[in-house]
Amino acid sequence: MNKKMNTDIHKNTDHKKQSQKITEKNTSNSKLHTFREVLHYVRKYLGWMIVSILLAGIIVALTLYMPILIGTAIDCIVYGSIDFPKIESLLLRGIGVIIATSIAQWIMNVINNKVTYHVVRDIRDEAFHKIEVLPLHYIDGHSSGEIVSRVIADAEQFADGLLMGFTQFFTGVITILGTLLFMVYYSRVITLVVVCITPLSLFVANFIARKTFSMFKLQSETRGEQTALVDEMIGNEKVVKAYGHEKDALDQFDEINERLQNCSLQAIFFSSLTNPATRFVNSMVYAGVAVTGAVSVIMGHMSVGMMSCFLNYASQYTKPFNEISGVVTELQNALACAARIFEFIQEEPQTPEAADAVVLEHAEGAVHCDDISFSYVPDRKLIEHFNLNVKPGQNIAIVGPTGCGKTTIINLLMRFYDVDQGTISVDGTDIRHLTRQSLRKNYGMVLQDTWLRQGTIRDNITMARPDATESEIIQAAKAAHSHSFIKRLPRGYDTIIGEEGGMLSQGQKQLLCITRVMLALPPMLILDEATSSIDTRTEMKIQSAFAKLMQGRTSFIVAHRLSTIQNADVILVMRDGNIIEQGSHEELLARDGFYARMYHS
């Protein structure tokens, strides 16, 4: 028990924090709301749940019946007048009860597992589906760690709580009720003793949990402090070494370590008192039952067998009391976790496709921005009354200092965000009347922020065209100058790259992203700092490939190296979210404005 109780205490403290947070934010109303949501997911498995609860009832009844059978049998064992046929029939019945109980237990466990894991699976599937339809502003506005922790950790916690709730809460409550019923039936006096003493263990456990709460808080704070130091020093071990800072770092570490030792000892020791304390209360109950039982036997109110049956109840059935207090906090925590997932699942999805949305086949590449305005946050104006007219096949460059909103234009073109005002149209159709898929399929995009998935190099390159042939792949890779390094990888195109590109350098990852687009050959292109991590020499070589690719394709290029965009048909110069200049390289130089200053600096 020790171990379990101890972790319960740990959880207790966590839950308190969480449930406090919840109560701060929401009323009990919303807890009810969450509970209703949970029921919504459970409803699918309602049949199974009813079976499970029925089984729990049967199991409890049977387990409570066992001590009675044995007690009755013991009563038959009186020296000199043993009733062998009765004992024999009682024991045979006992075997039947045991087998029935164990089978029912197993079935109930399996059903509970099934319901729990399926509910969590359904919730996860739904949450993941949500990720794919959420508007970009939600995903950009929340750290990925936070969302991952909802889909993974919260769901997991919820599953644990749900499973525990199923297996222990129901059986626990039914056991307590059942035991009480049996006890009242056989002896009111003993029942009174048990009822009076048992809840003591609950109080003791609660008392200790409350007292240790602040100790655990201090422990986790100190731990956090230590982790921060470890993160800083070991994360930058190279700097530490370069400056011979090792000893000072260790001193700093030891100071925190010592504090941690003290508060950990307190927290662990005091929380570990729960177990001995509740066990002590249980012993009291046991002693109480023994003495009242024995006296009742002498007075002739009860048989010895029944007394042993009561002793058995006393030692076995004070247990659910200890467990239920843990289960309640566990369930509360599960609800808090569920609330966080549901909140995510109920986020507003992106605006649905218009009813009359058409599929954009192979775009000509005429892009019109007509008086568009857009801002991420209402009170910080970004793009206002912006007009742009791109003829098919034109190359548009967007330049300007970092953070000036170049990427915003791309967000709008790809319809990652919708404009607040005005329209963007492709080939004369408002893009809000095109299906998102068909619009995006017409663009090939290379971002500065390279993203590769876990899988082979081939999987990554053929993302847009899974049916590409080997020779097409190699051709694209050669054009993007990635073939030579892919060849040198341990298994060539079938090399598996780890999470987020793993062992590849930033430049190599960018080359792979370029290869991806070179293979797809879409009608329009978006290059957002596509070569920023590639050294200038390789970049120059890729430029020629890009130049070929861009021929006859409407292209948007964001760059900070001005050398790469001189040949663009139109250069947009952006600053603080506004387009301040617009024209060809020569025109802009002649104007002698911001662009010219940037160029000559």
């Binding site: 044995i70 013991i74 045991i98 399996v110 993941f128 990720i131 700097v239 066990r279 930033q506």
Partner: protein, 586 residues
């Protein structure tokens, strides 16, 4: 794991006392059924109420003594476990600090951090649990069996059989389940990975219209996870029913044997009840033991991971001090080359190809050496070999004519000021960060270094030397951080100053002023400047051009423009038609 036990050596007393008191507690528990038996056989049989009350007091007394010894045991166990973890963390931190760059690269930061935090915590829980339970539970189980033997040998044999069966069942279920739990964890990791991937790559996935494919992938992986969870769950679901069957069948058997023994006059009714109670005690303890095994298994895995880190020793050893011969050479060094690379090559641990091949050059006092080349051409590797962050796998690196391997670590740190590519500051103040360079630096010296690093306006803007720096220097911009790290290196007044692409976030003008100021430094250090930009190095006394780890050119800007094709290409890519075409912004 066994090796980690040395960190318990200061807690020998606690390690003995904790289990001892636990066993004491268990012994008192084992007496309880005997007391009950005598209540029935003596108290009830003789209708002796005072005896019953006396026995009840004995029960309460037993519970009290049990409580006291249990609390004592918990205290010693907690003390030993926490002390163990504290010493382990200290040793681990100190050990990691001794690693050379090679080990840091292989292990990776996040691994080291999890070893230091969650793994140590797991190990602590493991030690705590072992001290509390590992002796207690078997003691109760076998104690109950022994007590049964003292009551009646024939009945006790049922205990033997039942315990053997229970052990077999509980342990085989646990052992079968452990690898399954691990598989569940792996499947969960895959689900987590896919979720992360989809969030980070949301733009690419939507751009390529892969949403539906991704959902399909997720559903498949999620289903695989659920299947594995159910599989593992249905194994552990066996635990309760099977143990229930064994114990209860044993109880029935016990009653039957008991009946026969009572008939034969060997046992009393109360003794049969005592035997029955002992059997019930066993079940509770066995289930605890099974839980303990799972905890222990986790703790052992963590312990092994920690031990792996301890096993990894620094691949680099430094001499205690310079040899007499070296001291002689250093004392009369005059006009010798400060830094010499003699046909140096470098092959990183586990790498297939050499990072550097046959690098050969030397640099004099006061010279400025520029190093240029494409991404992955080996520029950083080259300068990292000067302070001996990595050892040459071929050839030799010399400092004042003495191989760097012959220098004690402190000497190298003192003589070389290194500014790393990643500009990192520690939490503290500006002054505390600068003092990392030299602990006893005066304020005047700090301001000197700050001025050279072109950081005066930053420090003044932040409110002087006492201004707070957040963790990682997050309250400064990239360019500001770079200048602060340069100041930190300058304050050492090093013989050799290395700037590893550490001015990349500075605008051209500031960069130029920085270089001019460095050239004017009174101590005339040898300066290495690594850069991708030709503008940053074109005034250098020597420029080394690297391509795929080979030195493809060495000379001044002008000579390289005519002799070295790679250099010319780099230059052209940045200065086509002789006009600067880089948009600069900080």
């Amino acid at each position: 794991m066994r090796k980690l036990l040395v960190y318990l050596k200061d807690y020998k007393k606690e390690c003995v006392l904790a289990p001892l008191f636990k066993m004491l507690e268990a012994s008192f528990e084992l007496i309880v059924p005997l007391v009950c038996a005598s209540i029935i056989d003596v108290g009830i049989a003789n209708s002796d109420q005072p005896y019953i009350y006396k026995m009840c007091l004995v029960l309460i007394g037993l519970a009290l003594v049990g409580l006291a010894s249990s609390i004592t045991a918990q205290f010693f166990a907690a003390k030993a476990a926490v002390g163990f973890a504290t010493q382990l963390r200290h040793a681990l931190f100190a050990h990691i600090q001794r690693f050379s760059f090679t080990e840091i690269d292989t292990l990776g930061t996040s691994t080291m951090i999890t070893r230091m935090t969650s793994d140590v915590n797991q190990a602590q829980t493991g030690v705590n649990m072992v001290l509390r339970l590992f002796l207690r539970s078997p003691f109760v189980v076998f104690g109950a069996m022994l007590m049964a033997f003292t009551i009646d040998v024939r009945s006790a044999l049922i205990f033997v059989v039942a315990i053997l069966l229970l052990f077999m069942v509980v342990f085989s279920i646990t052992l079968v389940n452990i690898p399954m739990i691990r598989k569940v964890q792996q499947k969960l990791d895959q689900v987590l990975n896919l979720t992360r991937e989809n969030l980070l790559g949301v733009r690419v996935i939507r751009a390529f219209c892969k949403e539906e494919d991704e959902v399909r992938r997720f559903v498949a992986r999620n289903e695989a996870l659920t299947k594995q969870q159910k599989k593992s769950g249905s194994i552990s679901a066996l635990m309760n029913p099977v143990t229930y069957v064994i114990i209860n069948i044993a109880i029935l058997r016990l009653i039957w044997t008991g009946t026969l023994q009572v008939e034969a006059g060997i046992l009393t009714q109360g003794q049969v009840i005592a035997l029955y109670n002992y059997m019930s005690q066993i079940l509770v303890e066995l289930i605890k033991l099974a839980n303990l095994i799972i905890t222990l298994n986790k703790a052992l895995a963590s312990g092994n991971r920690i031990a792996d880190v301890f096993e990894m020793s620094s691949s680099m050893t430094y001499p205690e001090e310079l040899s007499q011969k070296s001291v002689d050479i250093l004392s009369k060094e005059n006009g010798t080359d400060t830094v010499t690379f003699r046909h140096v090559s470098l092959n990183y641990h586990n790498a297939e190809e050499e990072a550097l091949t046959d690098i050969d050059f030397s640099a004099k006092k006061g010279e400025i050496i520029g190093i240029i080349g494409g991404t992955g051409s080996g520029k950083s590797s080259l300068v990292n070999m000067i302070p001996r962050y990595y050892d040459a796998t071929g050839g030799e690196v010399l400092l004042h004519g003495i191989p760097v391997r012959d220098y004690p670590e402190k000497e190298l740190t003192r003589r070389i000021g290194m500014v790393l590519q990643k500009a990192v500051l520690f939490k503290g103040t500006i002054a505390s960060n600068l003092q990392l360079g030299r602990r006893d630096a005066t304020e005047a010296e700090m301001w000197d270094a700050i001025r050279v690093a072109q950081a005066e306006d930053i420090v003044k803007g932040k409110g002087g030397l006492r201004a707070k720096i957040d963790q990682g220097g997050k309250n400064l911009s990239g360019g500001q951080r770079q200048r602060m790290t340069i100041a930190r290196a300058l304050i050492k007044k090093p013989e050799i100053l290395i700037l590893d692409d550490s001015a990349s976030a500075l605008d051209m003008a500031t960069d130029a002023r920085l270089r001019a100021a460095i050239r004017e430094l009174p101590d005339k250090p040898t300066v290495f400047i690594v850069s991708q930009r030709t503008s940053a190095i074109k005034d250098a006394d020597q420029i080394i051009v690297l391509d795929d780890g080979r030195m493809v050119g060495r000379g001044t800007h002008d000579s390289l423009l005519t002799d070295c094709e790679v250099y010319r290409e780099i230059y052209d890519s940045q200065y086509r038609s002789n006009t600067p075409k880089e948009a600069q912004h900080e």
